[in-house]
Subunit: 423 residues, 2 copies
Amino acid sequence: MDLLQPKGVRDFSPEEKIARDSVLAILKKHFERYGFNPLETPILERYEVLASKYAGGAEILKETFKLIDQGERELCLRYDLTVPLARYVAMNPNVKLPFKRYAIGTVYRDGPIKLGRYREFYQCDCDIVGANSAAADAQCIQLGLAVFSELGMEYNAYINSVALLKTILQLDGAPEEKLIDIMLILDKLKKIGEEGIVQELETIMVPGGCVRRIIAIAQLNTNNEKLAAIADAYGAIPELDRVRQILQLVPDNHVIFDPSLSRGLAYYTGVVFETYLNNSQITCSVSSGGRYDHMIGNFLEKPDDYPAVGISFGLEPITDALRLLKKEHQKTVVQVFVLPIKTPRESNSLAQELRQAGINTDIDLLDRGITKNLDYANMLGIPFVVFVGKKELEQEMYKLKNMTTGEELMLKKNDLIRQLTKA
Amino acid sequence: MDLLQPKGVRDFSPEEKIARDSVLAILKKHFERYGFNPLETPILERYEVLASKYAGGAEILKETFKLIDQGERELCLRYDLTVPLARYVAMNPNVKLPFKRYAIGTVYRDGPIKLGRYREFYQCDCDIVGANSAAADAQCIQLGLAVFSELGMEYNAYINSVALLKTILQLDGAPEEKLIDIMLILDKLKKIGEEGIVQELETIMVPGGCVRRIIAIAQLNTNNEKLAAIADAYGAIPELDRVRQILQLVPDNHVIFDPSLSRGLAYYTGVVFETYLNNSQITCSVSSGGRYDHMIGNFLEKPDDYPAVGISFGLEPITDALRLLKKEHQKTVVQVFVLPIKTPRESNSLAQELRQAGINTDIDLLDRGITKNLDYANMLGIPFVVFVGKKELEQEMYKLKNMTTGEELMLKKNDLIRQLTKA
């Protein structure tokens, strides 16, 4: 037997898990600050639900892990958190709208394994169901900015409306039935440039000219210039007002209106947005989202009754970006290691008192000598060691060693606790 | 298409999820206080690993969800967190011993669905790998007591050693090859009483007399009386010293030595323990654990090199017990709802300021009137509403309504923030 994990899934060591948990805690805090409530749905779903024509579609279904329960029912592992949200709203007609929920959990895709693609990964999603206002769009965008500000990261958030883009492309001669294909190609603008886009459009028999004007406008300097240029070129478009309102509600220099942004996902119906870090080796988006006004309603056979907008954060790229920003990486949650010198019971009592004072405390469990214990604390990256010797106990003193600097202090118990609490 | 979850799995509404998350946060805090570090392993495991003869055994394997990936590899959903821990230790020979890790996550069992049995449920486990000392046993027990004390629950923790019990049963004439069966039956003592046990033993051809003496000793009043009675009756048994040491390290009136306790699981090799709540409708154990010295080592083909002890907490019974203790249940994470009266932009700015001050803030997203918004805040259980009217804004005042008492206050912004922060 080979003791290995399955392909495409990962273990997270304590050091990695500590880093991930700290990002998750920040996400959770801000999700709640913005008034989103937690919802948990199971990882197992009925195949029939995920295979619905209103769900993720044929591409994603190919990558869905299927299984059978003892009752011969077809089940599968969820591939996202949005279809389960739709199912939950459908099963709970008493849910008050707008329903603002967040969900943090693993999803599963049985796809090809390339660099950075996994078969089990986290999604961290906030969605607002039942509000079609610009205020709801703006709230999702604001939440994203708050998270990256707290993380101390420099970002640019790009926003657009796919409804606006579709109108513009049609006014510039794009055939309606090819709009989704055109937008999928336009999505590669940063990668392949304007001439690359035009060439690819020609392969699907679309005149490249239909994208040139909007790409030119997207290159203007300020959001206001872009808004004005679109109004000049195309006249009054309701979705342009929506974008203007959102920009007014989110006054931030790092929010950039990019009228060429399409995000290429068929289910988006209105505003779309994505955030990238500046000056970072992490070049993929760290959060993204948009408005999808019909997906949940389609599930409920009331296509217009459940407008929705959501934002999703990428745990992996955010954790990686933080890792690159920091020089020191926390290897352990333990703050102090109690090292007994022939004082097992007194040491255990001290450890208990330190824990009651809120200090994460470990202690020798193997009756090892000083050198081995110091070695262990050092290998684990525990920042402090406190020695509990018989002689020192008689004087009610403890020796505290800072494992980083090597500095040693003799302290009374209260001072020991104070020292460790402030550390 | 029926929009339903699979059988045996559950959605957790915001109200339920808030309650569960608060228990998980307390568990996590104490796990770290006791020096356990987080480890995350995937929900998917290779079937070969979970089917190993060293893993959970044939019974549990029957209840294991199996699936196949695109590469035709046999996978399954983990049925516990202990086998993945063994795999992790095996794959990471550089792990420093003792390795203290905690893991919180869902596990899966495709078993019959009865009341209180689910196919997806949480395990919250702390284990110490590589320490065979009484101090390690005691630390797991202490951790359990700390959790239930913080939760404000009255408990009794029962401890024993299955090594001790096996020795005693054999000294009283129990045949070695039937020890596991006898202990499985003895496990029902609280349910069926001494005479019930004796009757069941006779059906497997074991003389009922072999359990009578230990049951009598288990009914003595104090731990010291029981320790003395066993020493008197059976002479020196090394495991009795171990129990004595543990009891000395955990001086707590609610730790009860029960020499008849067996926990009936074949892989336990030494101390076992379980905690029950007093004066609660929750009658199942809320935490349990024990020493299993060979299971991880067997995986690594070094049966004696990885002694281990662990404690597992039951998220479901603890959450239910807390729910019964509390009169009020938090329905939402939101602390205040901002109600704009024709002041969308000013209200949005206020909401942002409240969030920056650390207050969980929601706001009208549908441009609704006062009555509808108050209704919404009330239905969601949001404790405060702040009205943002034009006239009040001119005076830089805000009206804060306490939704529980109905009390209304006119406040300057700083006082508003102070009021909400202390609430």
